[in-house]
């Protein structure tokens, strides 16, 4: 077969891949193309630090509440409150992922891959009000064969509070810092909460999962 013929066949294939009368259903070749494209473009990109882009002025001008979230690898983003009356406060990121958090306490995530399907946030609030007392907190995950599996942790908040001033997006907040220690069958972790007098958790480092680790949450 001549080289010219091979080229013609190749070009024809590329042009014809995935042709159909409808654009509603993504064809297999289109899926393949997306996969190849994403594989090729998987460059190591330094994460953009949102804290350098979003200033206190921008936060104030926006008016709507936002949530700052940072993963342990340094990737971070600000999320907006999903509009409307939600069952629980859902924060939406520009990448389509969501974080559900009430008064700064993490409840669940979606769109992150290995998501936290649910955690007993009410227990955290109870613990914050009852330092030194033990309670059991449940975290629920979706495991690989699509079953929900719950992990149980024995938790308690340390006695004593450390009052301090923290700076979140160029604004000082007077908070008390409390540490929650949790022990599970396979995993132990410590969550830190910087709480204002009205009970709002202004900053926290909270356990998400073994795969994603801890999240830093801030309410600017």
């Amino acid at each position: 077969m001549e080289v010219k013929t091979v080229c013609q066949i190749f070009i024809s294939l590329v042009i014809l891949i995935g042709c159909s009368s409808t654009d509603i259903e993504r064809s297999d070749p289109a899926v393949l193309f997306d996969l190849m494209k994403s594989s090729i473009s998987q460059k190591k990109v330094s994460p953009i630090d949102v804290r350098k882009l979003v200033t206190r002025e921008i936060v104030e001008e926006a008016g709507d509440p936002i949530l700052f979230v940072e993963l342990k690898d340094g990737r971070n983003a600000t999320l907006s409150l999903f509009p409307g009356e939600n069952v629980l406060p859902v924060w939406l990121g520009v990448d389509g992922s969501t974080v559900t958090a009430k008064n700064g306490v993490l409840i669940s995530t979606r769109g992150m891959g290995d998501d936290l399907m649910h955690s007993e946030y009410e227990k955290t609030f109870w613990g914050l009000s009852n330092p030194g007392k033990q309670y059991i907190k449940k975290y629920t995950y979706l495991v690989e064969d699509n079953q929900l599996v719950s992990e149980y942790f024995d938790c308690s908040f340390d006695l004593g509070e450390n009052f301090s001033v923290i700076n979140v997006f160029d604004r000082d907040f007077y908070v008390s810092m409390q540490v929650e220690t949790c022990t599970g069958k396979n995993t132990d972790f410590r969550n830190s909460y910087w709480t204002e007098a009205d009970g709002t958790v202004r900053r926290s480092r909270q356990f998400h999962s073994n795969k994603i680790g801890q999240l830093l949450l801030e309410i600017p």
Partner: protein, 693 residues
């Protein structure tokens, strides 16, 4: 031929992609197989000998062993936590007349069963049957124990058959069963039969070996192999019973090895391994779903069909119709992107709950395929809200059966549709060319006359391949209903794959009907009818099919050959919960033979399916020919598992040791069950955890 083959042959699109993606996955998947090595037979072992070890549940291994007189390819699968199975294709010899200069290409099956786990003072204990179906080239059985002491793993066992070569001892089981004292010569015949009487019979030999884990990646092994290799004596000499080898774990899905065999032969091995329970992209990266609305708040939210349609469309659903009746909102939907019907239900429920008014408290979601409702579910929004917030609520999605779809809204689409794309097809296990391939373009089109009647067909044109090199003539004593496939491959390029006028309907809330007339498949045309009874809430289904089929000309144009037959089956389908599916059918096959087919498959709750089928008919084994009866293995891997984003597609692989004429079904038989089952309640239950993902 099986429905699965029909589906694969009929779609044939981009199986090459499947292989490529598998390779990528094997290079990226995480593994719990550290310190696990494979022997030359693709099972946990030393070099040629087995160990008592087993693979993680569900593990799938592609293994290749090469040396100057051997090509040995194995597909191994951990069927249950205690049972390891393997299918193998081996080319033996040198300077022979078959492919790659081999004198023989042979298929074989193995099974290994774990008896005891390793304890502090006792070894792990297993027994196995090697090459127990087929011509029995490697026919042998063994009992083996393995114990780990520090970095060293010691193995010792007792072998029978080929493994009883050197330093034979009398059969220790003969005291219990005297007939085990001697081992008769194997009646290989046409292969494919189980030789129960030979198992663990005759003299035995001991074998032993050791493996040392030198680092996380490197292991070395030495073994004493009692196999005298008598079958290979005319091209292979055994200088020593000692084999030595080293393996290197390249990454968590690929292992390479080198060996010195029989004291004079260098060998190489490569093993790729995957596990359905280790998705390369975790649980997937679909965008977050729409959150539910707080309904306890006073709100003025009005039901907005337009917003519902917009949101559902953006999620990958085709909303065909919407109806509000009292406190219930019903949607008829075609799920185009979510393989997991549980996840689809969860997303649709959230959308309906959020964008409907407070006086609507229930939803009825009807999944539609083509124009028939294949599954229906009733959902109470309060229950759904509780469940999505982590509460345990049983029966959130209540299965229902409906007979009819709603009147379809104007979707703005055409009744004519077409698709043009590449295909990749293959033929396996011809000794003269074990792997033949074909790459080309496939064009399919259909026109819908009404909700129930349509005309559809497809054709394809080969661009690059070697199907036309196969000039083997069938020696079958039966009517050549399938064994003339090389003729169709050679002369059918550019012909009509299928072209039928089709009637498809749901005649009661639980009964589906299909009727087709025309060119039904590549080798037969005629008229076929099929009915399926499948209540959504039931794990059982029953089907019946009947066809009058006439054999097509090899060129796959309009003409027919003289052979005409009536074929049909009664079938039962059982989704037996989380692990296994069973399908059984009895009836008349294409060659006029009567019999039954049993298919058993291991199902995983993420779309993976690994299974086997066999068909026994009234055709004597001697008349059937090589292989004795129809049988095969299949594997289905969902694309969403591979790529980590939503897709309804799946890739498959069918390993049919030999294509003969006995036990052959018309392609497309049983397609109603495949059409319906993907959206049924059993699938929802299986993947319920994904509903709120």
């Amino acid at each position: 031929m099986r429905l699965r083959e029909f589906k694969l042959l009929n779609s044939k699109l981009l199986n090459i992609k499947f292989l490529g993606i598998l390779f990528i996955i094997s290079a990226n998947s995480s593994s719990t197989l550290l310190a696990q090595n494979f022997n030359g037979f693709g099972l946990p072992g030393l070099i040629e000998l087995p160990t008592a070890r087993h693979l993680p549940d569900g593990e799938l291994v592609f293994h290749q062993r090469l040396h100057r007189s051997l090509h040995r390819s194995t597909l191994a699968f951990q069927l249950t936590p205690n049972i390891t199975t393997a299918f193998r294709y081996v080319g033996h010899g040198r300077k022979g007349y078959e492919y790659a200069g081999r004198s023989n290409w042979d298929r074989s099956f193995d099974v290994q069963v774990k008896l005891l786990d390793e304890q502090r003072y006792t070894p792990e204990l297993s027994f196995g049957l090697r090459d127990f179906v087929g011509t029995g080239w490697y026919s042998s059985e063994y009992i083996v124990g393995t114990k780990k002491i520090g970095p060293v793993e010691l193995t010792a066992g007792l072998g029978f058959g080929r493994l009883a070569g050197r330093n034979k001892i009398s059969n220790p089981f003969a005291a219990l069963a005297p007939k085990l004292k001697s081992r008769g010569s194997r009646e290989t015949g046409l292969g494919g039969e189980l030789e129960f009487g030979q198992w663990f019979s005759g003299p035995a030999s001991t074998f032993f070996g050791a493996k040392i884990q030198m680092s996380d990646k490197v292991a070395a092994a030495i073994e004493y192999n009692p196999d005298l290799m008598l079958g290979e004596a005319h091209y292979l000499t055994v200088k020593s019973p000692i084999n030595v080898g080293v393996t290197y774990r390249l990454n968590e899905g690929l292992e390479l090895g080198g060996q010195l065999l029989q004291g004079n032969t260098f060998g190489l091995t490569a093993s790729m391994f995957f596990n359905p329970k280790r998705p390369p992209n975790g649980n997937g990266f679909e965008l977050a779903p729409v959150p539910m609305r707080a309904r306890q708040e006073a709100s003025n939210v009005q039901t907005s069909p337009e917003i519902i349609k917009t949101v559902l469309t953006s999620e990958g659903f085709l909303l065909k119709a919407i109806e509000i009746r009292g406190d219930t909102i019903r949607v008829d939907i075609e799920n185009q992107e979510f393989r997991s019907v549980a996840q689809a239900l969860g997303r649709i429920t959230r959308t309906l709950q959020r964008f409907s008014s407070d006086d609507i408290i229930k939803a009825e979601i009807v999944f539609v395929k083509y124009t028939i409702p294949v599954a229906s579910y009733e959902i109470n929004f309060n229950d759904a809200q509780e469940a999505s917030n982590g509460r345990i609520v049983r029966g959130v999605f209540k299965p229902k059966d409906v007979a009819n779809t709603l009147p379809v809204d104007d979707l703005g689409g055409s009744d004519f549709s077409w698709v043009l794309g590449p295909y990749f097809d293959y033929r396996l296990f011809d000794p003269l060319r074990p792997f033949r391939y074909d790459l080309g373009l496939n064009l399919a089109a259909s026109y819908r006359f009404s909700d129930t009647f349509s005309l559809g067909g497809s054709t394809q044109k080969s661009l690059y391949g070697i199907f036309d090199e196969n000039i083997r003539a069938s020696d079958s004593k039966l009517t050549h209903v399938r064994s003339d496939f090389p003729e169709y491959d050679r002369f059918g390029d550019g012909g009509i794959e299928h072209l039928t006028f089709r009637y498809l309907s749901k005649i009661t809330p639980t009964t589906y009907v299909r009727a087709e007339i025309g060119y039904l498949e590549t080798m037969f045309g005629g008229a076929a009818v099929e009915a399926l009874y499948k209540p959504n809430a039931s794990d059982l289904a029953f089907g019946i099919d009947l066809a009058v089929a006439k054999q097509r000309q090899y060129n796959q144009r309009l003409g027919f050959k003289d052979y005409q037959t009536t074929t049909g089956h009664v079938s039962a389908y059982w989704d037996a919960g989380k692990k296994f599916d069973f399908q059984a059918s009895v009836g008349r096959y294409l060659a006029g033979d009567w019999g039954g087919t049993l298919e058993v498959s291991r199902r995983f709750a993420n779309g993976w399916k690994v299974g086997a089928w066999s068909t026994l008919t009234n055709v004597p084994f001697s008349t059937f020919g090589e292989g004795s009866f129809d049988k095969g293995l299949f594997l289905e891997i969902p694309l969403d598992w591979m790529i980590g984003s939503k897709s309804r597609s799946q890739r498959g692989l069918v390993l049919k040791p030999i294509t003969r004429d006995g036990g052959a079904k018309l392609m497309g038989t049983g397609q109603l069950y495949s059409l319906v089952n993907r959206d049924q309640n059993s699938e929802v239950v299986r993947e319920m955890g994904r509903a709120w993902k």
